[in-house]
């Protein structure tokens, strides 16, 4: 068990190295985009030399000939830059985000410049930082809240539906639940997000219809009408301004949850159906154990081993979904930052975001591998 875990962990580290190197090469070798970034920061009259020195100073922070010769520095070989980046990455110095104008990771009491040094006034007093947390800390927290609230209802309902469908394999309940879960897997986030927005947060939606309906009974325009005009659910969930609340999170959460729900439900159903068809369940039923007890104490435990792995392996999809949803609903989280970084060619932040998302995915895979062994008694003893 322990040796298995160590081996998996080494594979994880190796994958992380390979992946981060490829990401770094893809982003760093894109010199035209870097030059465009420099021109965007410095203005359209920038000469190539100025652009080059800006890139060397602000992004690579390096020149063997010293500060004065930045413009004449030849670009470093990419593996050397990668090594610099990696040694910074390991100790938590992830660089400076050009788009957000602040450091990427960590807590800093004082304002930092793009080289990670404290900005001082003329009198040498360090300037205090109103916004001390780095981009990734802030954004990943916001996304973590969203992902957490997505995950709980999604997993709960998926397991419930899957178990109920798998318990009665072949029945009408099973059929209709299967079709339901197929239907939800055909709704990617950018489709369901739009449907829910129109349904719940526009003057065409259900709240408007309710208002119109109640208008017939002349319940006048107090309650529902104000609902229709200002729906309680926010189509634009500004996490920045509003923090987190039910109104902010409701639409994003159901949007992501719906897409992931179907797959987990179907896997749970398959696993449950397999367990229900096995010998020991038949024995229990023939022995006269009540059906409720058969399902709850005999079948359920074994049937939930496979879905556990599936759920953990859903994380890459969840992460992709969260990015889309954050763009749709303007929720200022990790995905929003990634989108902004990528469209503005924010070198350090793109690399950081990509590597962070890969780390999250690899860690969940690791947990799923280990958890599978811990949950499965047959494998545990080996």
């Amino acid at each position: 068990m322990l040796s298995f875990a160590t081996r998996r962990f080494f594979i994880l580290l190796l994958t992380l190295l390979v992946v981060s190197f490829s990401v770094f090469v893809v982003v760093a070798s894109n010199e035209r985009a870097l030059r465009a970034l420099a021109v965007g920061e410095l203005g359209s009259r920038t000469t190539p030399e100025e652009a080059k020195s800006w890139i060397n100073r602000e992004i690579f922070h390096k020149c063997p000939k010293g500060e004065r010769d930045l413009a004449n520095c030849e670009p470093y070989p990419v593996y050397e830059r990668y090594w610099d980046w990696l040694s910074g990455f390991v100790v938590g110095d992830w660089g400076y985000s050009i788009v957000f104008k602040k450091h990427i990771l960590g807590y800093s009491e004082y304002k930092l410049d793009s080289r990670g040094e404290v900005i001082k006034d003329r009198d040498g007093v360090p300037r205090p930082n109103k916004d001390p947390w780095g981009v990734i800390n802030e954004r990943l927290t916001a996304t973590g809240i969203l992902a957490f609230w997505t995950f709980i209802p999604m997993v709960f309902f998926a397991l419930l539906v899957g178990v109920i469908a798998g318990m009665n394999e072949g029945s009408k309940t099973d059929r209709s639940l299967s079709v339901l879960s197929i239907a939800t897997t055909s709704m990617p986030e950018y489709v369901s997000g739009i449907l829910f927005t129109v349904l719940f947060a526009t003057s065409f939606g259900v709240f408007a219809w309710l208002a119109a309906f109640f208008d017939i009974f002349s319940f006048t325009d107090t309650w529902f009408d104000s609902w229709a005009k200002r729906s309680p659910l926010k189509a634009v969930s500004n996490y920045d301004k509003d923090g987190t609340s039910f109104a902010v999170l409701f639409l994003p959460v159901i949007t992501v949850a719906i897409y992931g729900f179907g797959y987990i439900a179907r896997m749970t159903r398959a696993s449950m159906a397999e367990v229900m068809a096995s010998q020991y369940i038949r024995t229990a039923i023939l022995k006269g154990v009540p059906r409720r007890k058969v399902v709850l104490s005999h079948a359920l435990r074994n049937a939930l081993i496979a879905p556990f792995t599936i759920i953990m392996l859903q994380f890459p999809f969840l992460l992709s979904g969260v990015v889309i949803v954050e763009i749709i609903f303007n929720y200022k989280g990790f995905g929003f930052a990634l989108n902004k970084a990528a469209t503005n060619m924010d070198f350090n932040l793109i690399v950081a975001c990509s590597v962070v998302s890969v780390i999250v995915v690899l860690l969940t895979q690791f947990i799923s591998d280990i958890g599978y062994i811990i949950l499965n008694p047959r494998l545990r003893k080996q």
Binding site: I11, V19, N30, I324, G335, S354
Partner: protein, 408 residues
Amino acid sequence: MVFFSLLGEMFVTLWPVWLALLIVMGGSYMNRHRMGLYGHIYDSPVGMIGLFLVLFWVFCALLAGFMDLYGPLETVKGMKNAPLMSVPTTVENAQPFIFGGDKIQRDVFSRIIWGTQLVLPIAIFATAVSFTVGITLGLAAGYKGGWLDTIISFIANAVLSFPVIVLFYLIVLMGKESNLPIALAGIIFLFPIALLFFGLFGYFGGWSRKLLIACLIIGPFLVFAYLRLAYNLPGLGWLADWAARTFGGGDQETASSITIWVRDFLRLPGNMLNVFVAVSFASAPGAFRIVRGLALDTKTRDYVSAAETRGENAWYIMIFEILPNVRGPLIVDAALRVGYTTILLGTLGFLGIGLGTESPDWGSMINFGRSLLRIYPHMVLPPAIAIMTLVLGLNLLADAMREQSLKD
């Protein structure tokens, strides 16, 4: 009331589709007992619904030319943000805009129908390419095992550890300015050729004169197609001129259309190469995993050992013994994967890094109309529902095929 006239108008406009659906589905339903797996789909209502949805969009793509539509980029005066079923007043006897007009006065309905001609071919061909990658590598990794399996699986897992969106940002957005998509295209488009070569190699039992002759016959065309698709091989102007002169018959219009056809033959225009590569690259590791699993499962069967005892070539065993015997799960997975590819394509369009804002593919349409969603949902809802129904159809179809193949 608008709703019913909308349905009626849609029914009339789409007449070629209904006709084709009636002929194909009716005819197949009559002869369903003679048609193998395809006929079995008609035994389950779920499968019929799925097939109906899929064929509906396929016929929309094939028969769009016969319908009374506006052009995908055609603008009509006075139709900016027009509501459902509004009729242009500036043109006489004009067709109504069934789903209204968009921000720049184009007909949403027509654009959706034209969009099928982009969405379906890209989804299908990208899936096909990712499957050839998956089959070539998956068979080799599963059947041969060893260090080959270790290396290929490691790479596949590394690609799979990216969330798709990050992959898209890296390939398409970063790639716009660099040679990355072309490099990836160069790798990905090698696999169909490799699979064909290995098939011939196995079929002729290793190196032989017949193999050489076959390669000489089909090789040049394949190399041409490869260079054209992956590297956009230039310099076909003289060929186009020659074809126009020879086959044009002195007619200016025919000659220019021949020139355009030859010049654009097997060429992926604009951003399409990037999109195509990104989508097939994202979906290939999944196909690889499935094929590898199936190959691992199948290689212990008796017929494989029999072939090994006969002294058959390894590629013969992989392609002519293992592959045909795992076709069932592969067909089901292919249907699911076309749906997934459609979703990926929509994602690219939605993020605004797809085929471009002008293009009538559904994801880009959603992105284009999204800013006005809460005032004018009619620009965004139809393409969203189009994506949903196409993917739903494919998923239902795959589910029905799986059920029916389990029954046998």
